[in-house]
Assembly symmetry: C2
DNA sequence: CGGGGAGGTTAGCAGCCGTTTACCTAGTCG
DNA sequence: CGACTAGGTAAACGGCTGCTAACCTCCCCG
């Protein structure tokens, strides 16, 4: 038996694509329906509301990001290895799911208040994983600096949806190298 | 006589702030009016439509970015100097006008078709300035790679609105160093 | 002094869009 | 076989929102 993408998931991926391209408010219920072959209000058999779709989309991506990142760090046997694993993880994610990454970056503001709190909390924890990993390999970064650097690296890696000129592997290599280099400036400058 | 921020400009900066925070469709005409002390439809004395505000906002920022970048490159006396000047220019811009940078990154899709074409053209020219400058200092990047690297650096620098934990000067120094380091990975690795 | 334009105001319309409702099928299972 | 459920449809409603209309007031200038 093949893995069946359970309709809900079909809808979520289609909606993610549309949200990424046109923005949350720029996409109508009917558009989402049309994208999966059903039309309009049929979506309410699967989701309580349009907001609920965005909510589920963003909480699930935030959880995956956090869990995967944490796992990679835990599996590493040295700080340098941990940082490289973390970078690789985020790069893979951004390259494999550009729509989700885009939605997560741009549409936090469109969440319901409770959903936003949940997502924010997960994101904070993910950032914290990065901050700790960075500080272990770049000891001269204090905590606020490491946090700012982490956000900068996210921006660097998440830029991938805007430049699809390279093939996947080249892009992954480029982004990983740039991200790593951006985090180790003091090491080589005399 | 002091420089008077001509109402139109007041409106544009207020609107930029709101668009950055809530997204184009998430902001009502009345919200923008309220932000400058007048209410609602009075805006139509200054702009033809809400779309026109976004259009003017984005074309003007794209022009400023391009002109300033080109000027900095022209004034430089060596490729390395040009790259550093370009980075410094973009960093300053992002730090001084975080709202505009955010709107430009996120709300391209909400433009009218002709406006979008104009803005896209300007952005392409700006990217081209970066690509040429990068390729002069990093000769082993081919053109598609340099373009992808440029977008990655934009993402890195434009991340600044999401992390205001550092003061302006520290942030500028951090972002400049990271950007420069991310673009010169091959130089130091043996 | 008197009239015209610049820049406000409020009231109201028109259209879009998320959501609800009522109804219709297929399967499934006791 | 009969009934319940999962999943779909089309129609209608209601609120929000961009924009227009009609009107009002300064202020400037001949």
């Amino acid at each position: 038996m093949a893995e069946k993408p359970s309709r809900r998931d079909q809808i979520l991926t289609a909606a993610a694509e549309l949200f990424a391209r046109h923005g949350f408010h720029g996409v109508g219920i009917d558009d989402i329906g049309a994208a999966v072959g059903i039309s309009g209000p049929a979506l309410y058999r699967h989701f309580r509301s349009k907001d609920a779709m965005l909510g589920e989309m963003l909480t699930s991506i935030s959880e995956r990001l956090l869990d995967g990142g944490q796992a990679r760090v835990d599996a590493a046997s040295s700080p340098d290895e941990a940082l490289q694993a973390l970078i690789g993880w985020h790069v893979d994610f951004a390259l494999d799911d550009p729509a989700l990454i885009t939605v997560q970056m741009r549409n936090l503001a469109n969440l319901t208040d409770p959903d936003r709190r949940r997502v924010r909390a997960l994101q904070r924890r993910y950032v914290e994983v990065w901050v700790e990993t960075i500080r272990r390999t770049v000891p001269d970064f204090d905590e606020p600096t490491a946090r700012a650097a982490a956000h900068a690296v996210f921006g660097l890696i998440n830029s991938t949806p805007h430049s699809a000129h390279l093939d996947r592997d080249q892009m992954a290599a480029l982004l990983s190298r740039m991200a790593l280099a951006s985090l180790t400036p003091a090491v080589v400058t005399s």
